[in-house]
Symmetry: C2
Subunit: 207 residues, 2 copies
Amino acid sequence: MATRIVEPEAGPRSKRAAILAAAVDCFGETGFEATKWSTVAERVGIGQTALYHYFESKTHCLLTIMRLELQRSHDKFTEAAPDTAEPVEALRAAVRAAYDVSDHEVLQMRILQNHMDLLSGPRKSKREEAERVAARQLVQLVERDWTNLLVRGMSQGAFPLRDAQLLGASVLGLIVSVWRWYRPSGPTPLSEVSELIEGACVRMVAT
Amino acid sequence: MATRIVEPEAGPRSKRAAILAAAVDCFGETGFEATKWSTVAERVGIGQTALYHYFESKTHCLLTIMRLELQRSHDKFTEAAPDTAEPVEALRAAVRAAYDVSDHEVLQMRILQNHMDLLSGPRKSKREEAERVAARQLVQLVERDWTNLLVRGMSQGAFPLRDAQLLGASVLGLIVSVWRWYRPSGPTPLSEVSELIEGACVRMVAT
DNA sequence: GATCAACCTGAGCCAAGTTCAATTCAGTTA
DNA sequence: TAACTGAATTGAACTTGGCTCAGGTTGATC
């Protein structure tokens, strides 16, 4: 059931990676709707129709970006907060990991957050729908990552008992809400954000 | 400076309110991009071009909905958590007020959250830009509502001292993150959400 | 140097938002 | 009641941007 999409293996001439990178820049800075698909082509240095060799549509590209970012987030969580770690420390590590990202990854998070609603409705075309379903599964995985962490903490007595589902969603919501306003060029360094949110999460969950 | 937009006074035949209501339904359930502007017209019972008598563009209508929702949120906060109240109780009241909403207002919050990014870049047309600027101002007002509450609590010794700006944004982020996933028809009643978040906010801020 | 698949392009199609000149309607004035 | 006014509405045409299609180029492999 958990069908992780097979990444098309890159032929030596393939511009797929370049397109994804350019699209992340454009979508992240200008916004998805506001950026013309042809602009992405320009930036890569190909004609606009060449894009369709790699992606079925502009939206298909967006969904791919979102899925890749979700995969990254999930992997990073798993690595940072193994099931064996002590709950409070695992929680802290997971939050820190969530903010240990490059500028490019910040853009990806922003894109992901700004278009979560795309994942609710079904898509018409095959490949888009495949990406959407994969992304949805990953969203659930990430949510489960956090709730599991809470459930573990609660059953071990490290956290007071509460609705882990709801609290997990809230913690996650708190963490990702940052990507709406955070700008690498802004006045607040990400390290500061990370520390404040880390503390806030611990208080929220472990008090 | 604070140029509250003058609401066009409704002629007796005006369909402005009906259009806004229909648009909230459509945009909230189907999504802004996914709903055809002409569908809104149909639902109101007018031709699509008649819409342009009331709104300069589909986006202008969206921005108007967002601004109205922001005004509502700000007003409700002010009413629920007056500057005179005891900080912890004011915080609790403000959170409860944030979730004391009708189904229609849930849709408006969802629309607002899903299109916050529209407020960052400038718009080309006059009226759209006016709505955008007004909305931005209201966002800042609402953020100030929350930070002021925190600052007051901190200076009165009810809350430990922390970066009120950042913490305010986080509290707000936590609260509104709910509108991404909450559905009135879903399994979790809003009252339950409200209680959990209320507790979480107090722990986050007052611990 | 023939072959094949990956890769790319110019020309044009189409859907949806938008513009515009012309028309209807409801209330007001004479 | 006839003329007038501005709000409200419309059908038809225009614009933009994503997308399709029918073919052309490139380069690795044999």
